[in-house]
Symmetry: C2
Subunit: 406 residues, 2 copies
């Protein structure tokens, strides 16, 4: 008999069993790599900048040529020409000399500082007056100042954002090695379900989970195989799940997980593989199943859309991210906020409560979203949720909580 | 002569001129609508649930049949059969009667409460003993409890997330009306630039902005036309920009915006349309241009990749979101955190400073990312940035700041 697990136990079983699964890797063009996960550290093979670069428009000088100058007593330097953008200068700068260099241009040999154009006056006779002294290194990025050969800039497991793409571009990495997208099959089971394109009759309801779970998986960077509704027919469900296991990296079935009359998901999982747990002591979401079929993680989520969505975020999403190669500790998307209302204690079971962010007295606070049978209204209003431990005696108004964002 | 604007003035000019531009709309399948922006309010045409639904596995009863019962004195009710999932019950429930209904099933007429199966005992003789009284409405979601016909559930301007897709699915909306993606042309100008696929020679540097700006635009949900590098040749730049204006909703040129020797972007924008400002009193990013060419917003960003990235987030991104239909006030992605270090005052100019989130004493704090010529290292390390007003006398360690996330 499988006993109900605490959420910590469930997480431990999930990662003990499947935590080592990692997708194989592939190369992608950096322009289409946002949201993908780096599979190799990025070590610079170059110095950045690769030359001594001016950070201002002005005159490259030997700093000591300007020491002691001022507006009333400018340092008068010989103008030796100008450097164009992208061009390697051919002249040198010695004591008493200067060369015009634009922002981003290369300093001529000999120069070790820049005087901004605002502090220089062109006398028109081949000399320039400097009205402000410049210290050695001022307004100059020396070779390797930003990045040196061998510097580790991005680590394997980083989920790539536009700023990372900039780093890759700067280092000349046009194709990057990333983990392949996990492929996940999504099935909804239940005789009462009809697809969104159909009109429910009698006590039928529309299949919501196929859509929330599939799109949440897409957001996580998965290839989703949305199988849709499978009626509570054991041989049919078994063949659909067996197919899914054979062709995907993970299977998610929602519905059919209650210890009720049919309990179809449990029966099929139990027949095809090993059920690792059946039931998590959490509200909502108790009837949750995890099975290992041919080494692949197969989840059974509650049929109730809100419960399925919570369980997905709490238990499925972390495993998906791990399989996709996201480094541990880089997954959580949470926000600290204070509660706008007190939340009463729960009764011996960990509980998740939806919250929305609202502005109150110029501060963003987290407001619990209650609804008797809060399903759609709750889904549409909640920006995320808070977890209340099972031994908690309630949360007070104004207390800081960690909101897990949807 | 165009004077330098404060950032508030620049934002006002941007929105006064272009704030009314909205993309036309189109219909998309809800499975591919995550990240798209709703162009119509979603008003429910249905009641949810559309029948009186049980929220537990158990027995549908008339609540008063159970009043006063207990474990020692159960209420003994006549069992009238069971309701199957998705089925409209044909029997009724009167006083002294009960019917089995699974979670999500429809209550028979007459029943107004559920008794959980855990509190019922089947005597096997056609009667069931109830050990716990149920109040009217207990464990029942009545017709329309969650959503009533005419309820407004999602409003135009909502950027769709998986939870919203669930709401659409529940209401039978399989295709949804969204704003079209703004198309944006991205150009980098500068004689010193080479593409990421090439090796810089001498004082050349790689084009970073085409990649950061293009991918950031993709993240915002734009169709990006990456034109890439255009050398500082006025007729060439002019023809590229004229083409871009003719075919896109917005043009972004980086580089060529300094009041320097060439100043190519300004010259072309000034020739093709009206330059609305040239220079924002902000660090980094002063040399920023906005022009109106044939009614389309055309930005000139600094060539410096970090400055271009800041300016994009501060001034371009809000306009892109507005054009894409995102409702005002739903754009900012910020996080409050306390500073891990003091930040010295700046000098009369608003300043942006990159910060990264680090864990310190079990709290997430914002740590300023300093680097002398911090370009790539700064980009790779900063999770976002803070804005320091121009009249601020510095920020103290521990002070709470609002971090704008990249």
């Amino acid at each position: 008999m499988l006993t109900v697990k605490t959420s910590a136990e469930a997480t431990a079983i999930i990662f003990d069993t499947f935590g080592k699964i990692k997708m194989p890797t592939e190369k992608v063009d950096i322009l289409s790599s946002v949201g993908r996960v780096l599979s190799k550290d990025i070590i610079s093979k170059e110095n950045v900048p690769d030359f001594n670069r001016s950070t201002v428009d002005g005159y490259a000088v030997l700093a000591e040529s300007t020491f002691g100058c001022s507006e009333s007593i400018p340092a008068i330097l010989d103008f030796k020409g100008q450097v164009l953008m992208g061009e390697t200068p051919t002249m040198t700068v010695g004591k008493g000399e200067c060369v015009y260099v634009p922002t981003g241009g290369e300093l001529p040999e000999g120069a070790n500082a820049m005087v901004m154009i605002e502090y220089a006056e062109d006398y028109g006779d081949g000399t320039i007056g400097m009205c402000k002294p410049s210290a050695p290194g001022q307004h100059v990025a020396f070779r390797g100042d930003d990045v040196k050969v061998g510097d580790a800039l991005l680590t394997s497991g980083t989920k790539l954002e536009p700023r990372h793409i900039g780093v890759l571009a700067a280092l000349g990495v046009s194709e990057v090695s990333v983990f392949k997208k996990p492929s996940v099959a999504v099935i909804s089971t239940g005789d009462e379900l009809v697809d969104v394109t159909e009109s429910p009759k009698g006590a039928q309801v529309r299949d919501i989970n196929s859509y929330t779970i599939s799109t949440a998986l897409m957001e996580l960077g998965c290839d989703v195989k949305k199988i849709g509704i499978v009626v509570d027919d054991l041989p049919l469900l078994e063949s659909k799940i067996a197919d899914a296991v054979a062709t995907c990296d993970m299977v998610i079935v929602s519905g059919g997980s209650s210890v009720g009359v049919k309990d179809a998901t449990f029966k099929v999982y139990d027949k095809l593989g090993e059920v690792l747990f059946h039931g998590i002591a959490i509200k909502p979401g108790k009837p949750t199943i995890l099975a290992n079929i041919s080494g692949k993680p197969c989840f059974g989520l509650p049929g109730h859309p809100l419960a399925a969505y919570y369980i997905f975020h709490l238990f499925v999403s972390p495993l998906v991210s791990s399989m996709a190669g996201v480094a541990a500790g880089k997954v959580a998307d949470t926000r600290i906020a204070s509660l706008s209302l007190s939340v009463p204690c729960n009764h011996g079971r960990e509980e998740c409560i939806g919250v929305k962010f609202v502005e109150k007295d110029d501060k963003t606070v987290a407001e619990p979203v209650y609804a008797k049978s809060g399903l759609i209204s709750n889904l549409s209003e909640s920006d995320g949720f808070i977890r209340i431990p099972r031994d908690c005696e309630g949360l007070s108004q104004g207390q800081e909580v960690e909101v897990e964002l949807f």
